[in-house]
Amino acid sequence: MTIKGHHKEWPPSDPKIVKDELFSSTIKGSSTLKLISKILGLLSILGLVGLIGKFLIDGGDQTQWGYVAATLAFIFSVTGGAPLVAIAPFIAKANWARPISRMAHVIGASAIVVNIIIMIPLLWVLPPLVVEGARRRSIWFEAPVYSPHFWDTLSLIMLAIAGLGLLYVSALPDFAIMRDNSQGFRKKIGNFLAGGFVGSTVQWSTLRMRVGVMSTLYFFIYIFVHVVISIDFSLSMVPGWRDAIYPMAHAMGGIQGGVALVIILAWIMRKYGKYENYLNINVFWALGRLMFATSLMWIYFFYSAFIVFWYGKSMSDNAWLDLLIRGPMVYVFILGMLFSFIFPWWWLIWNKVRNSINGPVIGAFIALTGVFFERIRVYVPAWSVDPKLIHDKWLTVIPETLYPDIWDILLILGSISFVVLTVIFISRIIPFIGVWEVQQFNLLAKPIKYIKAHGIRVAKPD
């Protein structure tokens, strides 16, 4: 009798094999990868051209910047949401996430440059708090007039630092392995980054504490960034839009996209990096469930707002519906609803789909597209609102549908390409599956046969 179960693919128990296999991804590279990198590099340059072109042509017209703001919101939220996929299981001591936690941290640090570059012109066109001699509605109330500009930039920088810090802290033992097992340039980098890590008991306990502190810090900054950017870069630009759940719905969309990115990267690493033993079906099954849960959470937050506006029927409630649901972006709304909720929900509700390698990744692509549509649905109409109406009690003139111009398209393609290129660049330095994480995983989890059942014995240290 042979057993067809989840345990045919399991990380090797020999630490040396684990180390060699996982570090090989930082060294080996195919000609296809080089070609892809070149194409991505070219697209990134075109993206920069798009941003400069946009600034030169539409620099004075705020209403034309919706797609740029939507791109920033999409990129910072989905890449920023990825580390939470590692943080939540870390707090819950869930072992399954150990092979993907490094990837989640890497994604979190991959968009720092893009975010800052896109933010700069947006700050230029974002209106100050005092417009035509009067203060507009904002969460900054009586604060200095450029508070949104300052605090939003600072919050993005804080998120970047926290993301980098989390990646660095959690990769320390692997830098030490790099220092001790390589030559030349890599040895120097490892020596510099490992910071004297030799794996003493104190260093390990400190490492765990540091990862815990950085994870908590990162989570709170992530929520703060979503609160300030979602409000300053969309909600407060629409007169009368008062929506307390919106920042949380925005963050939830980011987390949904973050889970999707981790699934996609894990799938690529499994298929093209030949890491079937590490990124086995257990990982995809758990990620598939997470993807399903975040899709449900997204619709719940959306509906919580929708029902209140739809039922309230006040002038400002109707204006919200006219602008963001049945107005200029009605088709994007339908696409967003299909891709953010209906398709992933119907796809991932089936256990056979979740409990497979390809099922979750298809759901992830769909959901990621949905998050992109959702950002366009909100940011483009919000920026399209006539700035002269900013002091009105509610929106009386619904803007026309704004289509992306060539500069917008270049920027969208270029910025996404640059994020992917950054991920490829990081993959040349740090293994995408943490060596020490896998070795701890092997210590704590083991497939065993128990009476007639097959399963895993999981150790849970305090």
């Binding site: 009798m1 042979t2 057993i3 067809k4 179960g5 989840h6 707090i91 819950a92 509605r137 904002s138 969460i139 109330f141 929520i223 609160v227 009368g240 008062r242 929506d243 307390a244 759940i245 919106y246 920042p247 949380m248 719940y300 937050f301 509906y303 919580s304 707002a305 029902i307 209140v308 506006f309 039922y311 309230g312 029927k313 006040s314 409630d317 409990n355 210590l443 704590l444 065993i448 128990y450 059942a453 097959h454 399963g455 895993i456 014995r457 999981v458 150790a459 849970k460 240290p461």
Partner: protein
């Protein structure tokens, strides 16, 4: 006295004898306590009768505050009811091992608090039978509410569905324990348990069906669990006429608040169960520790929602809304209530729970969980009443609402009533699931990793076998 077998596990015989000590025998304190509670409950029923005779004049409800302490208490008990599904269903799906001794108590708390919550709209109606006119037949033409899609109509439907589902959920989880009771009783009780045990013998197929049933019901109950308090929140949020109510955050804010108060109520109950029945081997400090960790996360999320709710209240710069918030936070007596709400809901208990010594101290956990529920009751009061009490342009009379002693007693009655029901339940059914406890003992082990001894758990997985 703890009895462990040669593998250092609690023996099944010991588990049966200790966990059935409240069902097969009667603790000494049980009759006096039940008698006292019964006395207070009967007085509550008499007062309710008086209110039916004389109408709502016996309460402090008057123009413009028509929703007061009764509706606050209704929302509070609906919130407490979220304990069961949070603990039982979510933790079952996520395979949290520490849930095992807690599940039954949480599920019972859900059922009794929901049943109590359902009573409050009836009490609030004053002339209770008038509810029939409002609901059956409920047509849009009456113009009382905009249409039958009103949350006020959806409320009883959602709560009844939740109550039915929770009862079924509890019953499915009770079956193996009912069979244990059937095999250990005689006479009428044996007949009673035989009927309820549905022929349970514990064969592999029955166990499989029981597990699958539990997981399916857990998955089905989750959307209902979320919808119930969301719908209750929409009673307020869809209203544009009352300042402070028309907020999009209310649904998740109410749900997370309900989880905060419900899980705290479970902590209170677990401490009482440990003290009352002496189940020290089964309800252990590590269970309080796990619940306190969960509560810390939930409470912090709840605080975030509270902050957003307040932020967006003043964001719109509407003068009436700002005036309401000023009244709520800075004017006496609301400011005192607000301060107590913040202190008891978060500021006092959560920093305490950051320390493991507190998390594993049963008495401190008991008192901190009580604090949370004081805060959460006040939260509902502060959401509902100030918006109605504040002077507004089209109301010709306004004044602060002071609940009468009648209303305070009915609030007190509700606690006595839920406690009484729990105690009566404990005489018939075990409050800690025996089979969960035994399964936990079988699945738990420990291994040596380096110099440390680490607890382990076995997780069974789906797999296909082929010959």
């Amino acid at each position: 006295m703890q009895q462990r077998d040669n593998q250092n596990r609690l023996s099944q015989k010991y588990t049966n004898s200790v966990l059935l000590n409240g069902t097969l025998s009667t603790p000494r304190w049980w009759y006096p306590l039940v008698s006292v509670l019964l006395f207070f409950v009967v007085i509550g029923f008499i007062l309710f009768g008086i209110q039916i005779k004389y109408g709502l004049g016996v309460t402090g409800l008057n123009r413009p505050v028509y929703w007061g302490l009764y509706i606050t208490t209704f929302v509070f008990w609906v919130g407490i009811s979220h304990a069961g599904i949070m603990i039982s269903a979510i933790l079952r799906i996520t395979q949290a091992e520490w849930r095992r001794p807690v599940t039954r108590a949480a599920e019972i708390l859900t059922i009794f608090s929901l049943a109590t919550a359902l009573v409050f709209p009836l009490i609030h109606a004053g002339r209770t039978w008038r509810i029939v006119y409002w609901l059956i037949p409920y047509d849009a033409a009456r113009g009382i509410w905009p249409n039958i899609r009103s949350p006020l109509f959806m409320d009883p439907i959602a709560i009844s569905t939740y109550l039915t589902g929770s009862t079924l959920f509890l019953f499915v989880a009770l079956i193996p324990d009912l069979a244990v009771l059937r095999d250990r009783t005689t006479g009428f009780r044996k007949g009673f348990y035989t009927i309820l045990a549905l022929g349970w013998t514990g064969n592999p197929r029955q166990w499989k069906m029981q597990v699958v049933g539990g997981i399916l019901l857990s998955a089905l109950m989750l959307p209902i669990f979320v919808s119930v308090h969301s719908i209750v929140s929409w009673d307020f949020a869809v209203t544009t006429a009352v300042e402070g109510w028309h907020s999009t955050i209310f649904a998740p804010y109410f749900v997370i608040g309900a989880v905060h108060s419900g899980v705290s109520a479970v902590v209170t109950m677990m401490a009482l169960m440990r003290w009352g029945w002496g189940w020290n081997d089964f309800i252990r400090p590590e269970h309080f520790d796990a619940l306190a960790r969960l509560l810390t996360v939930v409470a912090t999320a709840w605080l975030g929602f509270t902050f957003l709710e307040l932020l967006f209240a003043v964001y719109g710069l509407d003068a009436p809304e700002i005036a309401l918030r000023e009244m709520q936070i800075f004017q006496y007596p609301w400011n005192m209530l607000f301060l107590i709400f913040l202190l008891t809901g978060y500021i006092l208990p959560v920093p305490m729970w950051l320390f493991k010594r507190v998390r594993t101290n049963i008495a401190l956990m008991f008192w901190s969980s009580i604090l949370v529920n004081i805060g959460m009751w006040l939260e509902r009061f502060l959401i509902i009443v100030p918006g109605l009490a504040r002077k507004s342009p089209f109301v010709f009379t306004w004044e602060a609402y002071t609940p009468s002693w009648f209303e305070w007693y009915i609030l007190f009655w509700s606690f006595c009533w839920v406690t009484l029901l729990m105690l009566l339940f404990s005489r018939v059914f075990p409050l800690v699931p025996l089979f969960e406890q035994k399964e936990s003992e079988v699945f738990s082990d420990s291994i040596k990793i380096g110099r440390a001894t680490v607890p382990t758990i076995f997780r069974e997985e789906e797999e296909e076998e082929e010959d």
